[in-house]
Amino acid sequence: MIIEKHGEGYDGSFRVVVYRKDDQGRTVTESVKSDMDDQIPTFYVQRREELTRLVCEVLDGKISPIALFMQYENMTLSDLSARIKLSSRRVKKHLAPAGFKDLTVDVLQRYARIFDVAVCDFFQFLYLDDGVSFDRKNRAERLFQTVDVAVRGASGSR
């Protein structure tokens, strides 16, 4: 899994289309800033903190990488088991480090599809500093992944 030191931020451009009355009493649509707009940068900070916390839990052997992604994506056990087409009991096993060890590559591929990652993302955490960009491509139904990493402004290297 690639973790950027600062990562994506919010550029303030989000608008919602709402219906309202204009000065003449006609109903019109308008693109407006949400009341929650000031919370969006906070959301990004929270997500980064949440990821840091979850990665620590994985490295400390408290949860499995499957549990990391499930919690990070705010998914419930029933939602995840419906998507992976396995019983909740079996998915619950995979959330613990011991159960994770028993997973086959095939099941890992299915999890990878749900979390939009590659199988390797369950096994490594790659930290990228500021000023570094990357282009990630999943291959062979998320079994493999290529990552082009480059210093911003320089040509890429694999």
């Binding site: 451009s13 989000f14 709402v18 219906y19 949400s34 009341d35 929650m36 959301f43 998507r83 939009d116």
Partner: protein
């Protein structure tokens, strides 16, 4: 990338109504988003106490089931819309590719999480997002998404993951396209039928109300009661996220504001203007005012939610000094919402009476 000639991409309040409007516009029918929403019998209210949402608070439904607007509009207006859930994603891809290649835009129901052209904070697991595929080149698809101003680009791998998720409420491998639009559409009859269904969905007969205490007006009352109890039931960041998520659900998640009530008011006003149904115009104005009051309720939730500390370890200290304000704020918000329930309880029977006097 080359996209389907003549297709005009336009943003909208809501994904299903916006996508259908864009599809119909391409097929030669100019119709507004509120008209589609109203004719599709969009407004409802469900307090799904048994289903937890992303914020761990129970889910609240404010519109009919995903896909039902398309189905209702097609049936009531006599528009021939091919709607099918394919057995496999490969079959859905084959059909979509054929249609795009002959210049026919295709609506699909996908999980928003994989729509990588959207900003990160919008990409949540919502497996009932409607978009229109309007072009393809190699393994990339051009996507007309009502939530995105520019045309989105999506890799086939992401579309594949988004199209069949197996998640609850998802319509895996669903595909729809307009086959033909009749020369004349009887909007009067379609709208009156739709309004009757909306009224029936909101106000149930007394006996049914007790059983379906989570649906319609009774659902609104049940929901209002739980708002007052949130401060006792939840704590810490769960409480904060839950309160804010409820407000976002009503205002920002493709509703046009006030849980679709403003869009519905606009629909009634449009009917009044088009067909001279002045009574519906007055009711539409009332619905718009009701929507504005609903927005006040949502704003009060935002105000309360923002005060709750983000960190669980700070909550107990904060609660000991601000607990009373929190409970008082939620009680007031609950009252505001009960008032909205009372309004709708009186409004929908009046609307039903008004349409029974109108002739298609």
């Amino acid at each position: 990338m080359k996209t389907i000639a003549g297709y005009q991409h336009a943003v909208a309040s809501h994904c299903e109504t916006g996508s259908l409007r864009n599809l119909l516009h391409h097929a030669g029918l100019d119709v507004s988003e509120p008209m589609i929403f109203g004719t599709g019998s969009g407004p409802t209210f469900y307090y799904l106490f048994f289903a937890k949402g992303p914020s761990t608070f129970p889910l609240v439904g404010i519109r009919n089931m995903p896909g039902h607007i398309v189905r209702n509009v097609a049936a009531r207006c006599g528009i021939s819309i091919h709607q099918k859930q394919y057995r496999t994603t490969e079959a859905a891809f084959r059909e979509a590719n054929l249609l795009i290649d002959v210049g026919r835009p295709v609506a699909v129901s996908v999980d928003m999480y994989y729509m990588k052209y959207l900003p990160f904070f919008l990409r949540v697991h919502a497996p009932f997002h409607f978009v229109v595929l309007i072009g393809r080149e190699g393994g990339t698809y051009a996507v007309s998404d009502p939530y995105s101003e520019p045309i989105g680009m999506l890799e086939s791998e992401d579309l594949d993951a988004a199209w069949a998720t197996g998640a609850p409420l998802s319509r895996d491998n669903f595909l729809a396209y307009v086959k033909s639009v009749p020369r004349e559409i009887d909007w009067r009859s379609a709208a009156l039928k739709a309004i009757r269904e909306t009224c029936r969905n909101m106000v149930f007969p007394p006996v049914v109300r007790n059983v379906l205490f989570f649906a319609g007006i009774q659902g609104m009352r049940t929901y209002a009661r739980t708002v007052a109890a949130w401060g006792r039931k939840y704590r810490g960041h769960v409480l904060r996220e839950g309160i804010l998520f409820n407000a976002v659900g009503f205002e920002d998640q493709g509703t046009g504001g006030a849980a679709f009530r403003l869009m519905y008011g606009s629909f009634l006003e449009e009917l009044a203007e088009k067909f001279g149904w002045s009574e519906l115009g007055e009711l539409g104005d009332e619905m718009m005012l009701h929507g504005q009051e609903w927005q006040k309720f949502s704003r009060s939730l935002v105000k309360i939610g923002k005060k709750v500390p983000m960190k669980d370890e700070e909550y107990d200290d904060w609660r000991s000094s601000h607990g009373r304000d929190l409970d008082e704020g939620l009680k007031q918000a609950s009252e505001l919402f009960l008032e909205r329930a009372r309004f709708e309880e009186a409004f929908f029977p009046r609307l039903l009476k008004a349409v029974s006097r109108l002739r298609p």
